[in-house]
């Protein structure tokens, strides 16, 4: 059975964050209605960083993936009739997900207090980059900007060069997931004899809440965490190395692992060098350490090195690009990828929900065509 069957969700989340918030509802069987502009101007249908000449507004990757399992209603909410229909949809919904800017929110009469008055059982999720209130409330955002103002960008990259953000819109994904968790918690409260409520998510706060040491290090010790290159701060070697046939990741976090790692690659003698006595001295001489081990590593093959390390309980792993993850045997063993058939895009691979659930597995369904469910949805309201 599906866990969320019977729930109705209105997805007015025009961007990745909103779409991500509504997506797990669809995966677990809720009826999610994506309310879209009839002119296909929904950002997920636009090219974005993915541009293949053959692609259209129906086949762009963000739409195919993030709107999977949703129904599509093409609705012009700039006219009164459209707004009236939206209001009727919301009246019978359990959850509203919106990422509106302040003017649109006001125009749709969806300011949280007012919407809550009209729909006391509604869970109303607002996801905005910097919050509904606050000095940055009117700021324009982009994923890199949220990474910058969330403290993530400063600590990524080389100390000699500019900070790096990931090229994928991770802050938006994070905000969407927080929205889903908030909505599920609010549903539980409502269905325990409570009422609906407003769930407010600010992307900047989501990023600021997922730091391991950045904030505590400043608060506890007044020290700034800086970019330190392609490695992790606690010890060395925690990094990515080239080997004969590709790349491997190594995460040697303590001395026991360090000794076993050097033994395994046949370089135990390195520990006699005072720079390489332990993982902490190594972390002060990372370039020299990497230069010392690289010639040896370049003679080894990734499978042998990774499995050899794991046999010795040294955390090592493979390094995949986005084609390689599609072929990775571990993902296939767990059935992570699903081939989904789409009338225009054809068959394509969907990443699954990353949790195997014994009683309520998620269902993989395709993304809707623009307005595909107009008639059905209007019929249900009649």
């Amino acid at each position: 059975m599906t866990a969320l069957a019977g729930l109705r969700v209105i997805d007015l989340g025009a961007d990745v964050a909103g779409a991500w918030c509504a997506r797990p509802f669809a995966a677990f069987g809720a009826d999610v209605i994506r309310v879209e502009a009839p002119d296909a101007s929904d950002p997920l249908r636009r090219a974005g960083p993915f541009d293949a000449p053959r692609d259209t507004t129906e086949t762009r990757a963000p739409h195919l993936y993030l709107n999977a399992g949703k129904r599509s209603l093409a609705l012009d909410t700039s006219d009164a009739q459209g707004r009236a229909l939206l209001e009727r949809l919301i009246a019978r919904a359990d959850v509203l997900v919106e990422t509106l800017d302040p003017d649109r929110r006001a125009a749709l009469n969806l300011e949280p207090a007012a919407a809550g008055e009209r729909h006391p059982r509604l869970i109303h999720v607002s996801i905005t980059p910097f919050g509904l209130e606050g000095p940055y409330a009117g700021f324009r955002a982009a994923p890199m900007i949220a990474a910058a103002l969330g403290g993530y960008m400063y600590i990524g990259g080389s100390p000699e060069r500019q900070p790096l953000a990931n090229l994928s819109p991770q802050p938006d994904c994070m905000a969407g997931l927080h929205g889903f968790v908030g909505a599920m918690a609010a549903l539980r409260h409502r269905d325990s004899g409570g009422r609906g409520q407003h769930v407010e998510i600010a992307t900047q706060e989501c990023m600021a809440s997922i730091h391991q040491f950045t904030i505590t290090r400043w608060v506890y010790n007044r020290r700034i965490q800086r970019r330190i290159g392609n490695r992790y701060q606690r010890a060395h070697p925690i990094t990515i190395y080239r080997v004969a046939d590709g790349l491997v990741s190594i995460a040697v976090a303590n001395q026991e692992q360090y000794i076993r790692f050097l033994d395994l690659i046949g370089m135990a003698a390195l520990r006699a060098d005072p720079r390489f006595t332990d993982v902490f001295t190594c972390s002060e001489h990372t370039e020299a350490f990497d230069a010392a081990v690289t010639p040896r590593l370049l003679t080894m093959r990734k499978e042998a090195l990774v499995f050899g390390c794991q046999k010795q309980r040294v955390p090592a792993g493979f390094v995949n690009d986005l084609r390689e993850v599609l072929n990775d045997p571990q993902y296939h063993a767990r059935g992570f990828w699903t081939q989904v058939e789409h009338p225009i895009a054809g068959a394509h691979a969907h990443a699954g929900f990353p949790v195997r659930m014994s009683e309520t597995p998620p269902v993989a369904r395709r993304a809707p065509l623009l307005g595909e469910h107009d008639a059905a949805i209007r019929g249900e309201l009649a």
């Binding site: 866990a3 797990p24 974005g48 960083p49 993915f50 541009d51 993936y65 993030l66 949280p112 324009r140 900007i145 990474a147 910058a148 103002l149 403290g151 400063y154 600590i155 990524g156 990259g157 500019q162 900070p163 790096l164 953000a165 990931n166 090229l167 968790v181 918690a185 539980r188 989501c206 809440s209 730091h211 391991q212 040491f213 904030i215 505590t216 608060v219 506890y220 965490q225 970019r227 701060q233 606690r234 010890a235 990515i240 303590n254 902490f280 792993g317 493979f318 690009d321 599609l326 990775d328 045997p329 767990r334 992570f336 691979a349 990443a351 949790v355 659930m357 014994s358 009683e359 309520t360």
Partner: protein, 420 residues
């Protein structure tokens, strides 16, 4: 108990970051989270002195006599939870654990996949005790498959998941992030799956087994990229922060040491606005830069020009001027900037929490803001074993004599087990 998840009880066997972060969310939202610490591992939790210094985990670098209660990670991640000590590799500890399982809705653990079944605490074992119980396991690669036995950290998941392939400088290796980001990703998916399973549990009275792969969790957040790759659509290649559909899009240096501003221009209108802010109206009409296509074609010259302009500016002041002109721009905040950030502070994001052995400190708040059942952030992290008595007495009905006996025999306590 107040909060949206009042009445939900979680037995938390997790360590490090991903698991404790998942249960911190549940605790903030009102669940009763009972964190279980092995006293044998409590010593190990207090990291080596050199690491502690690097990471700055003790207040003023001073571990103190009871360092296990002063660790920043413990105090950050265990807030709002109760803590008991239990040794489930002893027969009596295991018996207590089994009794506790009968009283909880959720068990969550992040051991390697061998550990729980070894003690009869795999899902079948737990379900035999409590048919309503939800077990969430969150190993690096999931409980089954050729890599299921792998030990891994977030810094291994980052490259394995595909995430690192989308970060780095032109022509160089994939880059791991500065923050073990796959850990909180796994945390959010664990919390999500648990809440879905709780809804099913309430409807049917049945629990279930949630087998989370940390690696899959991060890959799931790249789903549009892997989907594009599966259809042969090109995905962006690593070149700093440059993207194929907008320019400029990067971090540019500002006045001062290691100060930067991130600027993302999505349209030609925004570019014209930027040229106004920069006091370089000629940039708007220069054919090398007038359109997105032209700016992408001349990106090296564009970025050099941008750097020349921004390097004399103050990052915050420039952010405000650009934002006033409708341009997505943000100061690149470090840890101190975050704690002092105007927006986060105006919104009351940081909370001062007074843990008895640390003193009052600011901590990141809970970004899930619920209007009717706001998150609770007023309860400091427990000290080691602080709730032994309370939990064993109130939940399991042990007598004071029985509890004292467990204490005397070292089966529970408020200090790490002495090293053998």
């Amino acid at each position: 108990m107040t909060g949206a998840l009042a009445g939900v009880r979680v037995l938390d066997l997790t360590r490090v970051w991903a698991g404790p972060h998942a249960t911190r969310i549940l605790a903030d939202l009102g669940a009763d989270v009972i964190h279980v610490t092995s006293r044998k591992l409590a010593g190990e939790l207090s990291v080596a002195p050199a690491t502690a210094k690097i990471l700055g985990v003790y207040p003023d670098d001073e571990p103190g006599e009871r360092h296990w209660n002063r660790n920043s990670q413990t105090n950050d991640l265990l807030r709002g939870k109760r803590d008991i000590t239990l040794e489930f590799d002893t027969p009596e500890g295991l018996a207590l654990m089994r009794r506790l399982v009968a009283h909880v809705d959720v068990v969550i653990e992040n051991y390697s996949p061998r550990v729980m079944p070894k003690y009869g605490l795999g899902f079948a074992g737990l379900r035999a005790i409590n048919p309503r119980v939800i077990l969430c396991s969150m190993p690096g690669y999931g409980a089954e498959g050729p890599l299921s036995g792998f030990i891994s950290y977030g810094t291994n998941v980052d490259p394995a998941s595909g995430l690192a392939s989308l970060m780095g400088y032109r022509g160089e290796l994939p880059y791991i992030g500065g923050n073990a980001y796959p850990d909180p990703v796994a945390a959010l998916f664990a919390a999500s799956a648990i809440l879905v399973a709780l809804r099913h549990q309430r409807a049917t009275g049945r629990g279930q087994y949630l087998d989370l792969s940390q690696c899959e969790a991060t890959t799931a957040l790249l789903g549009e990229f892997s989907l594009a790759a599966s259809r042969g659509t090109p995905v962006p290649t690593r070149d700093g922060n440059r993207l194929p559909d907008r320019a400029p899009n990067d971090a540019y240096p500002c006045r001062g040491e290691d100060r930067w501003i991130a600027i993302s221009i999505e349209s030609d209108a925004q570019w014209r606005a930027l040229s106004g802010v920069a006091n370089h109206p000629e940039w708007a009409t220069d054919t090398r830069f007038a359109t997105t296509a032209a700016r992408l074609a001349n990106i090296d010259a564009l970025d050099a020009m941008m750097r020349g302009w921004t390097s004399g500016e103050d990052t915050y002041a420039l952010m405000r001027r650009l934002q006033e002109a409708g341009i997505a721009a943000g100061a690149v905040l470090d840890g101190r900037d975050l704690v002092e950030d105007a927006n986060l502070n105006a919104r009351g994001f940081f909370r001062e929490i007074d843990a008895p052995e640390v003193g009052p400190k600011l901590y990141a708040g809970q970004p899930i803001r619920l209007s009717a059942t706001p998150p609770r952030l007023d309860r400091p992290a427990p000290t080691l074993g602080q709730h032994n008595q309370e939990v064993l007495r109130d939940l399991l009905g042990l007598t004071t004599a029985e509890i004292d006996d467990l204490k005397t025999r070292g089966l529970i306590g408020d200090r790490p087990a002495p090293a053998k």
